[in-house]
């Protein structure tokens, strides 16, 4: 129907204008994000603000930086958990750590670390394998608020039962509870785990390469990007890796359709862990 089609293209115009406004006013560029999720998140924020159109959201974002903060949080938070996909974390220990062990200094980049669940999981595993002392882990995210929470090393206590199960299935060798103390409904992880972690704001869309890493973890971040932006970020990872570096993606993320596919060989195919051919 003409009316439907008209509504559709009107919303598309509203989304395009909103994203351009955000880019010009605040420098965050969401224009290459995958549309379906982006659209859901934009509407989620619009409803949260009591607004009925995305044009209305555009007006508020332009005039009220605190609204941009809230929108940024909606657009950037990835809901994750410690040792998500235990088989992936087991594969890290069994197939990736032996390769890292050959280096005197280990540099790891967790791109899109969100609130830090994965980075602490990684630190625990490195500690148990005797590698944490010589590891420097860069944990970056676009969202300052998420980084603050990641820095605090605290997670809701009620999630610990689930995380403990994950940890055990991920070949954890200690009592999981020995890694945190409990206070006020929060589990606070041992600050010693975070000694080698550098938390920093970094925007995968607009910021460049800042170091060379033997391992880059970027799990369930690329799913929010459109194909072109995925290509750009994979190029950035290529520039940010040492020779024969390792790239770990999310369980359902693939290099299959990428022009960068040839640069990698599967290291653990099932877990989407890849190694650069050169």
């Amino acid at each position: 129907m003409i009316g439907e089609a008209h509504d559709e293209s009107r919303e598309r115009i509203e989304i395009d204008l909103l994203l351009e406004a955000i880019q010009r006013r605040y420098g965050y560029d969401f224009r290459g994000y995958a549309l379906a999720s982006l659209r859901r998140r934009l509407w989620h924020r619009a409803y949260g603000e009591g607004l009925e159109t995305l044009s209305g959201l555009q007006e508020r974002v332009l005039h009220d930086p605190s609204c941009m903060d809230r929108l940024l949080r909606d657009l950037s938070i990835n809901v994750t958990e410690m040792f998500r996909d235990p088989s992936f974390h087991r594969a890290l220990r069994e197939h990736v750590f032996p390769l890292l062990r050959t280096h005197p200094f280990i540099r790891i980049w967790n791109a899109g670390c969100s609130t830090g669940e994965e980075i602490y999981s990684l630190a625990i595993a490195l500690h148990e394998e005797g590698l944490l002392e010589r590891s420097r882990i860069y944990a970056t995210d676009i969202d300052d608020g998420a980084l603050d929470r990641a820095r605090s090393g605290t997670f809701p206590l009620e999630r610990m039962q689930r995380y403990t199960e994950n940890y055990q299935r991920a070949a954890g060798s200690e009592a999981f509870s020995s890694y945190y103390s409990v206070s006020g409904g929060l589990a606070r992880f041992d600050p010693a785990l975070a000694r080698g972690i550098v938390f920093a704001q970094h925007n995968l869309v607009t910021d460049g390469s800042f170091n060379e890493f033997q391992l880059i973890l970027c799990r369930n971040v690329l799913i929010y990007f459109g194909p072109k932006l995925q290509e750009d970020v994979l190029a950035l990872f290529g520039l940010s890796m040492t020779r024969r570096g390792i790239l770990a993606l999310g369980r359902k993320e693939s290099l299959r359709h990428s022009t960068h596919a040839d640069e990698y060989e599967p290291l653990v195919e099932r877990e989407r862990i890849f190694r650069r051919r050169r």
Partner: protein, 195 residues
């Protein structure tokens, strides 16, 4: 009416049997892609569902990869613990918070599919013990798509079909065994292809 471009199905409690019955009735040359959100355990990460369905239907079934293309006759199932969304011509995944305790959420799938495919979409709500899919099916109908609900009398759990019918009273109600043949007809591959 425009040619069907996509079939989206949602199932929960009792869904394995229902999905298997629907897919099992589709011919090898079924020319439309199918996307499915089936509620299941977060840890059911062993591909068993996919293996089972592949053994029992003529179409190729796989767990969706991010940005996988929607090819004719290909059945893409939401991976456990991910939302499955539809873009035009491809799927996308998300790990946004569960909706009504569900990830994958049928509403998320239907809503995104309705947006991308409009009146070229067929939405199917199967058995389940909650109300996921009701909102999404209403959105499909709103955008001119075809809404189908499994007859609650033939559903292992009727809550989900009941909720869908409450939100979309005009939806076509079909016994489980009829859904596959009707989908074939809508897709123009079964007997008496509709025009």
């Amino acid at each position: 009416m425009k040619a069907v471009g996509l079939v989206a199905m949602g199932a929960s409690w009792g869904g394995l049997h229902a999905v298997e019955t629907v897919l099992g009735a589709l011919p090898e040359d079924f020319g439309v892609p199918i996307v499915i959100a089936q509620h299941r355990q977060v840890d059911s990460n062993d591909g068993m569902l996919v293996r089972l369905l592949n053994a029992r239907c003529a179409l190729t079934v796989c767990e969706a990869d991010d940005k996988q293309a929607l090819d004719p006759g290909l059945v893409l199932i939401a991976p456990p613990d991910y939302h499955l969304l539809v873009e035009r011509g491809a799927v996308a995944l998300s790990v946004d918070a569960p909706l009504n305790y569900s990830r994958p959420s049928i509403d998320v799938l239907f809503s995104s599919a309705a947006h991308a495919y409009g009146d070229r979409l067929v939405g199917v709500v199967l058995t389940g013990a909650n109300s996921d899919g009701a909102l999404g099916l209403a959105q499909i109908a709103d955008r001119g798509g075809t809404a189908i609900v499994q007859d609650p009398e033939t559903a292992e759990r009727r809550e989900m079909p009941d909720a869908a019918l409450c939100a979309t009273p005009d939806a076509r109600v079909l016994a489980l065994a009829q859904i596959g043949p009707v989908l074939s007809q809508l897709a123009g591959t079964g007997v008496e292809a509709g025009s």
